[in-house]
């Protein structure tokens, strides 16, 4: 399933948490023309099959839900979660 929401949480040295919620589908829809163009240009430059590249990116995107990254050191912390 395509990821729905990416959550980025960050705790600064002061101890304050800042949160950023990224709704993936709307962001992808808005940026899709630009992303498509970037993929096509990159494929032309590096002589890679655009269909294969798009399929690969799609697979990566579909496999992303469930990914979680947490880093904590002292009072600083970063959490990235894909749902």
């Amino acid at each position: 399933m395509i990821p729905q929401l990416v959550t980025v949480r960050r705790r600064r040295r002061s101890g304050r948490w800042s949160r950023l919620y990224v709704p993936v589908v709307p962001v992808l829809l808005v940026l899709s023309p630009l992303l498509l163009l970037a993929v096509l240009v990159t494929c032309l430059v590096f002589r890679v099959s655009p269909v294969g590249a798009l399929r690969g990116i799609g697979r990566l995107l579909w496999a992303l839900p469930g990914t979680r990254f947490e880093y904590e050191q002292g009072r600083t912390a970063v959490l990235v979660s894909v749902r």
Partner: protein, 142 residues
Amino acid sequence: MNEQRRQILQMLGEGKITADEAERLIDALERTRPESPPAESRSKARPKYLRVLMSWSDESSGEAPGRINIRIPLQLLRAGVRLTSLIPPVAITKVNAELDKVGVPFDLAELKPQDLEELIEHLDDLTIDLDDPGSTMRVYCE
């Protein structure tokens, strides 16, 4: 259909026993048959994530204690591995040359997608435990 059940039905068909008797016999047959183990116990539940846990508290270096917790879906690893098929031959040649320079005579072109798939499949059994006086690291699948 097993042989005993077939015999009971045959006897019923020939009129040697009544329907009630046949039912009782089939019930008795099912009770005496050993229960087959559930499917879950036969096949181990397949892990879905690769987990990397690391923590350190090295006070001698003056750094604050820290912790890293990463959870990666194995499906993502599979998808990433499939992307290697997109690497252009020119890049593979360059990578091979660089690997050779640092003393790793490895040919990336020999790496087939099915081999990589197999590698990911066998990650299920992977467990790495690293204990150091100041830090611990654990890599496993769950």
